[in-house]
Amino acid sequence: MRVPYSWLKEYLQTELSLAELCHLLTMGGLEVEGFEEWTAQDGGATEQILMTSVTPNRGDLLSIIGVARHAGALSGDGHSQPASSFPEVDEALIDANKATAGPVTVEIVDPIGCPRYSALLIEGIDVGPSPDWLRYRLEAAGIRSINNVVDCTNYVVWELGQPMHAFDFRLIKDGHIIVRRAEPGEKLLLLDDTWQMLGPEDVVIADPMGAVALAGIMGGADTQMREVTTTVLLESAHFDPVAIRRTSLRLGGTQASYRFERHVDPNLTLPALARAAQLILETAGGAITQRALDVKTADFAPQAIEMRPQRCNAILGTDLDAATMAAYLRRLGCQVEEGEPLAVCVPTFRPDIEREIDLVEEVAIVHGYENISPTVPGHLVASGRLTEVQRLRRRAGELLRECGLHENLSFSMTCAAELDRCCFPSDATSRSLVLLSNPISTELSAMRRALLPALLEAAARNARQRVADVALYEIGTVFHPQKIVGQASRLSTTPPGETPVVPNGDEAPLGEGPDLPHEQQRVAAIMMGSPLVGHWNLPDEQAGVDFYYLKGIVEQMCTGLGLTRVSFVRYEHSMFHPGKCAEVTLGERSLGVMGEIAPEVGEAYDLPGPAYAFELSLDMLLEQATLQRAYRPLRRYPAAERDLAVIVPDSDDFSAVRLAAEIAQAGGQFLESVTPFDVYADAEQFGAEHKSIAFRLIFRAEDRTLTDDELDGAMAEVHRHLEERVGTEVRK
């Protein structure tokens, strides 16, 4: 809010400099975000403006008086009020639902939406331009000058915080103001020349003909003040914050609704009428001919709350005495009866103070947060540590970084078009997305279903910057409309070995609820170009990443997480090259997919060369992962090596992993490992669509060096098994 300094000083007498005042307010809960040196458009006035930022609980600070009151309370200087008083206002006609004074009748039909409506008639006014001082004040505050009467009401809004409205009284049918809910389908032309369709959630000011104003938001066009108006009816009412907010959320807010939503003092209606009347009589002439009307459906008495000084100190960690606390609260306008506890009467401009804890906060604010000495809590005796899953997740990231991949972050929000671009599988399950109902843009209108599309985009972005070598991984959450598989909860405070204490023995699963989408943690990576720095003298086929390089990284990560049952099976996936794609499985479960990105996808992203990628379920990986390692004694006796090569058809039935398993099965008790080390095809030598795979077998005994005879025997057994049982030719 714009607070002109000279206006503020009318009600605040203080020795503080402007800078000191701003610091006091900022540290006292009303942030002064800055100053403006303001000059009127016609150059006729200058002013210093404080730009304040008001928290949504403090509607009382949305006025000049409110700021003066708070500054006076914080500094102890106090503040003053505008001196405007009229007997017709002081002795307003009070009634609980309907009151009449002369030609004016006010009736409240909806006491929920409008608990209080005060009104005052002024006759014989002369509507015209405002005097300079009024115009400048409003311009400095950021309000457009309209005419002297409307300007006076706006002046009061800014000064006291009470929104007001001025009706051309002659246009109110029968002089009868009715505050009610709008009829379904009722229409109203507002001051800003827009037609609004209203309904029963909107509170309106009406006459017997129909709505004339949208309560707490904007007046109607038909009854507005004009040049020719001679009789004005001033409205000063109290509206329900929730009712006003419901309407303003739908139709848009105004200065008035902004204040009503944040609560206006219900006892401000009459002082505001008096102040407005004073200003109007000064600037537009006229006379008050009738008593004001004050229809109020409640008595709006100050709230009484008790506060235990001991409790206050226990919460703040202070050692203040009760008299000091009482003095602080009095400075804020409370009436305090000392005793144990303190009996506090809270002024009606502070509806946010409802409970003991709210008073504690006020004591802290007046005392000054900076005057509370910090202590380090003595409760922090237990050692904090990460849970097993959290440590495993960190380790997974570390392993990938150790393999040379940089950690990447991408947005959780994406769109369906991104899935088309990367040829994401088109089945209904793959394409069902969690959609936002109020996205910023269509590009960010759905929650991501996978991590790879964003990694592809990151690779493309690097390529556009001529960065050809890309190695990125991301660990992140993906979202599915429904739960698909069982998942470990990420929300566990329980260190290993402890059981959580569950209140009421109610073991509700944490992390998600019935209406929430399923969230899964994934790990994904993309590689392109070379994994080496400085590969200037290596041929591309040696320097570049390929399928096996990335597979090696997946294996390193899995091994590092203590997973031994990971395997790779030929797989078809629309995002990947049909011949270079594998499903990664852990035992019986599918973790995800890896391979070379399909050429058409690479083209869609303008990638300069082949890219390799994987995306796996981290949740599933971590379910079985472990950081525990048991030491295996080092073997004392040397190993013996034997190589063998088999000629097999180029088919998945004779994959390296299957042949190695067959060899291991036949190799006997001393066979320690079987590793393929050479693969090549030669149509002349082996026949078309055949290839040779060479394996190195390592044999070792625990207690001695193996003899040649023993090794030859084992190898013979392997040969026999391969030729007779597996049906392959062993090269001699």
Binding site: G384, E402, A471
Partner: protein, 337 residues
């Protein structure tokens, strides 16, 4: 004398052959063939030998001298050839080195991890909640009154009336307290979302670290003390936290937390808007309504909570001037940390 000569010959030949380079060979030459070398010295002794033995010994001495000189020349040639051949293998040592790339942690998550380490050291444990939250945990359980303008500040993304992207990590407080009796001491890191337009300092996606401590006798002074420790550990002993009144529905009293500007050390600069302070988050004493809502006895237990933004701290630590860099995936950016 014969023996002496023979011994000398053997020694000299062996020494020459053992010489590894030109320098050692030259030293050996001086030792045996120099003007005061052993060969000259032994020649001098020839004068004292009886005349009848002299011719034979002279002949032998000459022969030894020739052989020694030959051995020297031969070794000299060998060494020269070796030097030439190694020179031919010489490489340009100034060309770039070659090694596997070292992967780097994302600066945002590295900062978050360091923050977490500090709180782990203070006895907090780490919990995480879902990115998509329901209305109850996001607002109702956090004491947001129905239709309160405080919700405007959250600029929430909605999926349905009841499902939304969390705009702060605070819902985790409720999820944890529902499951556990005091003492509770947790930090909850996580991704949050607000409908903010993206520019150099704003983004619709950001990270927060939430903290919650509930126990008997927890005070506002404890909150200040804990966050002071955090500020010191994170940015050094000259760094302090400033607390000033603010409003959050789920804390009372509430405080905005600001850090001594680490750019200017509190003197005031462009980054901190000349205030000397950088706003980093919100905090306060957990509102009794929140504690009562999860079934805690509010007379026995009090607690504090705080939420600290991660982006700003990471940007300050590294001098990063554009928040959008965090999400580009640019290798040139990521490899710098």
């Amino acid at each position: 004398m014969d023996d002496k000569l023979e011994q000398l010959r053997q020694q000299a030949v062996e020494t020459f052959q053992a010489a590894a380079d030109e320098e050692q060979l030259e030293q050996a030459r001086i030792e045996y063939l120099g003007r005061h070398g052993q060969l000259r010295e032994i020649m001098k002794d020839l004068g004292s030998v009886s005349p009848e033995l002299r011719p034979a010994l002279g002949k032998l001495a000459n022969q030894v001298s020739r052989e020694v000189e030959q051995a020297f020349a031969q070794r000299q040639e060998q060494i020269a050839a070796q030097v030439a051949s190694q020179e031919a293998e010489a490489i340009d040592v100034t060309l770039p080195g070659r090694a596997p790339r070292v992967g780097k942690q994302h600066p945002l998550l590295a900062t978050l991890e360091e923050m977490i380490e500090i709180f782990l050291g203070l006895g907090f444990t780490v919990v995480e909640g879902p990115d998509v939250e329901n209305y109850y945990y996001s607002f109702e359980a956090l004491n947001y009154p129905e239709l309160h303008p405080a919700m405007d500040e959250q600029m929430t993304f909605y999926i349905s009336d009841n499902a939304l992207l969390r705009s702060q990590t605070s819902p985790v407080q409720i999820r944890v307290m529902e499951q556990q009796q005091p003492p509770v001491r947790i930090v909850a890191p996580g991704r949050c979302f607000r409908r903010d337009t993206v520019d150099a300092t704003h983004c619709h996606t950001f990270y927060q670290l939430e903290g919650l401590l509930v126990d008997e006798g927890v005070t506002f002074a404890d909150l200040k003390g804990t966050l002071e420790v955090f500020a010191r550990e994170m940015f050094g002993p000259q760094c302090h936290m400033r607390f000033r009144p603010d409003f959050f529905p789920f804390t009372e009293p509430s405080a905005e937390i600001a850090l001594t500007c680490i750019i200017c050390g509190g003197e005031g600069c462009r980054v901190c808007g000349n205030t000397g302070w950088l706003e980093v988050g919100g905090s306060g004493m957990v509102d009794p309504n929140v504690l009562a809502g999860v079934g805690y006895d509010t007379e026995t237990y009090t607690g504090y909570a705080f939420g600290v933004g991660v982006e700003r701290l990471a940007m300050l630590r590294h001098g990063i001037d554009d928040i959008r860099l965090f999400y580009t995936g640019d290798m040139r950016f990521l490899q710098q940390f």
